[in-house]
Symmetry: C2
Subunit: 159 residues, 2 copies
């Protein structure tokens, strides 16, 4: 796997996401990495991230798929342009749509692994497909349509 | 609006959901109510529930739509059978699929209102459509397919 997480390349003013911002001490701080052609994010939910006792809350699963999707979208876009994630111009993505199919209950108490791959880049949109595994068993599938962040959503004008 | 939230009818052993369980002190404790033919859930995210500074985290939006969807599914199923939510047999739902379209950035710092309505009941499945508003402006649309909880997911045999 790559050594530095996708999210560690986000500039400081875009690093406060509750899901994956390294500068949000209250957040989950999800981290995504390349593993060959796939991206991977691992996370162990806390005991209170429960749905029904013993199983992981669906909103948590949606959150991981969301952040891992936009992170993979950014990484794939840089890769498609053949340049590193710390090069200019900045490519950062927000979620246009999120779809999660819950295939089976996801057990609490084990590390979850989410694997993503690029489906398509189409202008400012990037489509990512994902699967979530618990103990090697697929429990959910996700699709994220990420769109390059509009200039007017950026916290301040960029140099 | 109805006086008691849908989630307040869930039996104790199904009331630990991180999103909407009244017995989960670490969770969001979303509450859903009838307002005529529509269901409504209001929630004000915390400042740290951020995506990009100034906007609400997409995973939080997905979480509200998820829990309000399964709650509305349960309430609609009881209503379709013409009986109150505290009557037996128990009808409780989990999410089979969740779809969220993020129409525009959702501002932080205001109360969000999610409105849901029954689209269809088909056997053990209930389809719910939702919209999320901030300051009266629609910011997201959601669709939830909820499925009646499998017996083997219940924490213990029910009387």
């Amino acid at each position: 796997m790559s050594e530095k997480a996708f999210q560690d390349y986000y500039p400081d003013d875009l690093a406060h996401c509750y899901g994956c911002g390294r500068l949000n001490p209250d957040g989950h701080q999800f981290k995504s990495y390349w593993d060959g052609e796939e991206s991977v994010c691992t996370f162990t939910p806390e005991p209170y991230h429960t749905a029904i006792p013993g199983y992981v809350y669906g909103g948590m699963i949606a959150s991981i798929i969301d952040c891992h999707g936009t992170g993979t979208a950014a990484a794939a876009a840089y890769r498609a342009e053949g340049r590193p994630m710390d090069s200019e111009p900045l490519l950062r993505y927000v979620t246009a749509s999120l779809h999660v199919n819950y295939l089976k209950p996801t057990p609490l108490g084990v590390e979850l692994e989410v694997r993503g791959r690029l489906k398509e880049i189409k202008g400012r949109k990037v489509m990512i497909e994902e699967e979530l595994y618990a103990d090697g068993v697929i429990c959910a599938r996700g699709q994220v349509v990420a769109v390059q962040i509009p200039e007017d959503m950026l916290p301040k004008p960029r140099a």
